[in-house]
């Protein structure tokens, strides 16, 4: 596929190596919390929206990321009211928080008999851009599955409300790939300043998170099968992952990606070792994590204005189980990144049978990031 933009970026890199050296000092990395992180407490009724903002502020973060459909009932109606917006800005002031990113969910299959037409999808995107701007957000997260022409058709409106559309680069996707090249081509073709990438740090997993493995054990997975799956991940890491392709048929793209990365061989080995449901589940889940090079961040820094700091389990010593936080933050510093790293806790789903403490996890993660940024 077309890699001329990667080559161009790499040539640019060589040309400005000296300037990049100076940029190490010119980064401005801020900390945000995505309220997605507090989903278990919200689900249990332990925290409401204000409570989440309060906990965010306690960590020392200065930014907040919001999934409007998660914590605003009757979406989007309240956002359209002055009363709600006044309350929102009052809270931001009270807790000294800046809106860092608004997470949209393009529900283009809202009806089961068809995918929405291009025009309908663009209108949906514009609705979210408008809602984001009304709540003070300058960035909107659009999901990895967003069709390219929906983004392209929304760029003028994004410029009008001055909200940047960020395409989330979420595992198993990656920067510096055929998939990303297509979007880079669009950026160069349109000259837009309102579209770029939001890397999700889950694309920098050195191994499968321990919380997933421990859950598999509690569900009865065998050590033999766990080792097969862990070794397979290590092999993909060593060989380099075969990248997933752009395809509007998400299921197809995902399945092809898994097959290209040895899923069949691994599943066969698990079956041969007598793997039961827990082993198979662990094996399948292992494909939702991936590794790509932090250098990709440096290569594409001109297009990165927000980051999802995904994490799964930060231990008491502030070391996270899977995401390579120090290496990633180092890359952001080298690149001169100006923006937020927004904590996104996703370990709770593997702890629901034993107890989740998202508040403590986010506190630890913010501290881990602070150390990496200031260290």
């Amino acid at each position: 596929m077309n890699c001329r933009y990667r080559q161009a970026a790499s040539l640019q890199m060589q040309a400005v190596t000296n300037i990049k050296e100076e940029q190490i000092m010119s980064y401005d990395i801020k900390r945000s919390v995505s309220l997605y992180s507090y989903q278990d407490e919200y689900y249990d009724g332990k925290l409401d929206l204000e409570g989440c903002l309060r906990e965010t502020a306690k960590t020392g973060a200065t930014g907040v990321e919001l999934l409007a459909e998660q914590m605003i009932r009757r979406f989007p109606l309240p956002i359209e009211t002055q009363e709600f917006r006044d309350q929102w800005f009052e809270w931001l002031k009270k807790y000294n928080l800046e809106p860092s990113c608004y997470d949209a969910f393009l529900e283009n299959k809202i009806y089961d008999n068809r995918t929405l037409s291009l025009g309908e999808q663009i209108n949906m995107m514009k609705r979210d851009l408008r809602l984001a701007s009304m709540l003070g957000f300058k960035n909107l997260r659009t999901l990895v599955s967003t069709p390219m022409d929906v983004i392209e058709g929304s760029l003028d409106y994004a410029a009008e409300v001055d909200v940047k559309i960020g395409l989330e680069v979420h595992a198993p996707f990656s920067l510096n790939s055929g998939w990303a090249d297509g979007y880079m081509e669009m950026i160069h073709k349109t000259g837009t300043k309102h579209f770029g990438f939001i890397p999700d740090m889950g694309i920098f997993c050195k191994n499968i998170p321990d919380v997933l493995r421990d859950k598999a054990r509690r569900q009865g997975a065998s050590e033999e099968c766990i080792k097969i799956v862990d070794d397979a991940y290590a092999e993909r890491l060593a060989k380099g992952f075969v990248k997933i392709k752009y395809d509007l048929n998400l299921g197809k793209a995902n399945m092809e990606y898994r097959m290209a990365n040895g899923m069949k061989e691994m599943m066969d080995a698990v079956e041969k070792a007598g793997g039961g449901p827990a082993d198979m589940a662990y094996a399948g889940a292992s494909f939702t994590y991936s590794w790509s090079e932090p250098q990709d961040l440096i290569d594409n820094i001109d297009y990165i204005f927000h980051t999802h700091a995904k994490f799964y389990n930060v231990h008491e010593d502030y070391v996270e189980t899977a995401v390579a936080i120090p290496e990633v933050v180092e890359a952001f510093k080298k690149a001169g990144y100006k923006g937020f790293l927004s904590s996104e806790y996703e370990g709770g789903e593997h702890l629901r049978d034993v107890g989740v403490d998202s508040i403590e996890q986010v506190r630890r993660h913010q501290e881990a990031m602070r150390r990496a940024i200031e260290g």
């Binding site: 009757r74 969910f105 393009l106 529900e107 089961d112 999901l143 998400l250 049978d353």
Partner: protein, 131 residues
């Protein structure tokens, strides 16, 4: 194995209309991390004590409005979403309802968020009592 609470422990009951028991009811939370339109609920499957409820006998209530599973396919109104962390009420039409005493429910929530390559299937199991 303890887990997050899915069912409202006080929500299991028989339903009465005009002095006759017409079915039984329960309440549960969506096993998904955001609120969504009912139109992406592909199915709610209910099995109590080994008996599958027929899809046509299932009713789904949010915010005071009740729909059949067929009707839900086109419900996109902001007032009638399955909100994150909130109970939806499921009523199963069944003459005589459930007998007093202990029962076991296995319900499945099948939800299809547009961005997912595969639909989510959440199995929700619990023991409950009909008083």
């Amino acid at each position: 194995m303890a887990g997050r609470q899915i069912y409202n422990p006080d929500g299991f009951k028989n339903v009465e209309e005009n002095g006759k028991i017409t079915g039984y009811q329960f309440q549960f939370k969506a096993q998904y991390y955001r609120g969504f339109t009912l139109s992406i609920v592909r199915d709610i499957r209910v099995n109590v004590d080994g008996e599958d409820a027929a899809r046509e006998d299932i009713r789904f209530t949010v915010n005071g409005e009740t729909f059949t599973l067929e009707e839900m396919r086109t419900v996109v109104d902001s007032d009638y979403r399955w909100e994150f962390g909130d109970y939806a009420t499921v009523t199963v039409l069944k003459e005589g309802g459930l007998a007093k005493g202990s029962h076991h429910i296995k319900a499945m929530q099948i939800i299809a968020p547009s961005y997912m390559p595969f639909q989510t299937e959440a199995l929700c199991e619990a023991d409950f009592e009909i008083a």
